[in-house]
Amino acid sequence: MAGAGRGAAVSLTGLEKSYDRVAAVAGVSLDIRSGEFLTLLGPSGSGKTTTLMMIAGFEMPTAGDIAIDAKSVVAMPPYRRNIGMVFQNYALFPHLTVAENIGFPLKQRGVAKAERAKLVGEALELVHLPGYGERYPRQLSGGQQQRVALARAIVFKPRLLLMDEPLGALDKQLRENLQLEMRRLHADLGITFIYVTHDQEEALTMSDRIAVMNEGLVAQVGRPEDLYDRPSSRFVAGFIGESNFLPAIVRGIEDDVVVAECDGALLRALCPGRPATGEKVMLTTRPERLRFTDGAWSSNAPQNRLSVTVTEAVFAGERCRYMLLANDGTAMVLKEPSSAAIRRRAVGEQAEIAWSVADTILV
């Protein structure tokens, strides 16, 4: 992380927002570190956009506090918070040129014309749109407009940048390009980015940390790999990436590993708490962590094994997806790379699958 001092540290404490007794945000506490790229990830209605709007100052919290660089900003109107913001539909002023759009925040801050022109030029260079200053927003493509919106939001060197699903309106290829550009921009500028999206792939690609939100609360916050490998709840396991869920009954605990019986087999899983014997639990593992045991793959780590029947086989370009059925009726998904060297399974085939205990979590 570059230049930790350049970005603002944001502290959300017990943030709540209700409309007519319906809670959009029901108690969010989060510490966002200086200079980090944090994503608020969640389905619609999870409260992520409302939270962002409260940080920006467009919504007044009904309870709780927001502190930027240790100073509470809740009573401060949005135009004094000195935060950059990028909106989903760009919100470029249609009656101003690109240069005037980018220069707008500088004008509000009383920056002289010559200095403005210089900073606008630099910002245009930064987003790879040199010379576009005299065009109007309606003459630009979606991707170009989004880059102008970015330039406008950072030209006045804010310490915090908020982004509300900025890539939602773009097609897949463009989105992926811009994701990389934003990542690079973040590394160059070193300021704090708070990004809102419902697309978990986007969040995994771009973020230093992700806060998964659901129904107005933060379900889990952590680095992408932590959330992916160690989801703390069924919701997070299901929302981020794909998961297999295996109902099981606890039979015992060995150190940090729980032993549970599922479909007649004893499986082991990592588990943070201490569930009681006989308790019904859910084990989860990722489809790409499963392997067919008769395939060309082996591991020294402790394994879980299960007998299954192949019910569907789908070739999806870079991967093969198999729908499997365990003997107790549990459905599972297995993903493996599609290479000519790996034998494709047939529907109806019986097989044994295995995966690492370390990749099994109890949620």
Partner: protein, 285 residues
């Protein structure tokens, strides 16, 4: 509205009210209160009573004028509907001609009622175009009396109100999803059937809006009937003006109240129909 949240001073700002207040005060002072005060004369002149209203059913002059006004409005509405619907269809369907058609509709629409009524005086006079043309074609021996007849009023009013019928209908037609007509055609409907069973019903909101608009406007027409109408067929607004000239304020106010109530009642009755509230709604956030 975005401002409602962060204003720490109070839940809702007074600003919107402050912005609208000058105009509201202005219109109350110079428009609403004057009209209301005048209408009050219907019950306060010469003493407080409803006698003016009670006298109306026996008032033969009023009866004749009122029903004549209604009758004229109905005729004019039907006329504009019959003539206006085809034009609206053409405006929406004939892509190439649409700009020309629009100009031909808007040009008279933008001209003042006075000038248009005058134009009809020129056309319908004893030496006007219509008579001259018919005489020249040998279809007449003597000039016809067209001007200053009920027919003249109706023709002129249809002409003036036609755009008010065409534009709402065209609007409604434009909003009909074109794939509906194609679907009907694909299911075997002839063009006439498609029109009758798909397009026509879906255009009804526009028709309703146009009919309502034209009828209410026709009720209150003054200039045109006064200029081209017959001396014996006067409209309610003309009667009102006469009474004001003679300073019969109580009577004039009563007649005004009747006219206003009739217009409002018709609007209120039709308000629930689809398309009507759209025609009156103002765009706000």
């Amino acid at each position: 509205m975005i401002m409602s949240g962060w204003d720490a001073r109070g839940p809702k700002s007074l600003m919107p009210l402050l912005l609208a207040a000058p105009l509201l005060a202005f219109m109350l002072a110079f428009y609403a209160l004057p009209v209301v005060t005048m209408l009050m004369r219907s019950v306060s002149d010469p003493v407080w009573s409803l006698s003016h209203y009670a006298a109306l059913p026996d008032d033969t002059v009023f009866q004749k004028v009122f029903w004549n006004t209604l009758y004229t409005s109905v005729i004019v509405t039907v006329g504009t509907l019959l003539l206006g619907y085809p034009v609206a269809l053409a405006l929406v369907r004939a892509r190439r001609w649409a700009p020309l058609i629009l100009i031909l509709i808007l040009l008279p629409f933008w001209t003042s009622v006075l000038v248009r009524s005058y134009a009809w005086m020129v056309l319908m006079g004893r030496h006007g175009l219509i008579n001259e043309a018919l005489l020249a074609a040998g279809l007449l021996e003597q000039p016809l009396r067209i001007l200053n007849t009920p027919l003249a009023t109706q023709i002129a009013m249809v002409h003036i109100l036609l755009p008010y019928m065409i534009l709402p209908i065209a609007n409604a037609l434009r909003q009909i999803d074109p794939s509906l007509a194609r679907a009907a055609s694909g299911l075997g409907a002839t063009p006439w059937r498609t029109f009758r069973q798909v397009v026509l019903p879906l255009s009804m909101p526009g028709v309703a809006a146009g009919v309502l608009l034209v009828f209410v406007l026709a009720l209150g027409f003054y200039i045109t009937p006064a200029m081209v109408g017959g001396p014996r067929e006067i409209t309610l607004s003309m009667l009102i003006a006469q009474q004001v000239d003679q300073l019969n304020w109580g009577y004039a106010a009563t007649l005004s109240a009747v006219l206003l109530t009739t217009a409002l009642a018709i609007i209120a009755a039709c308000y629930r129909l689809p398309g009507i509230s759209n025609a009156f709604r103002m765009n706000t956030r």
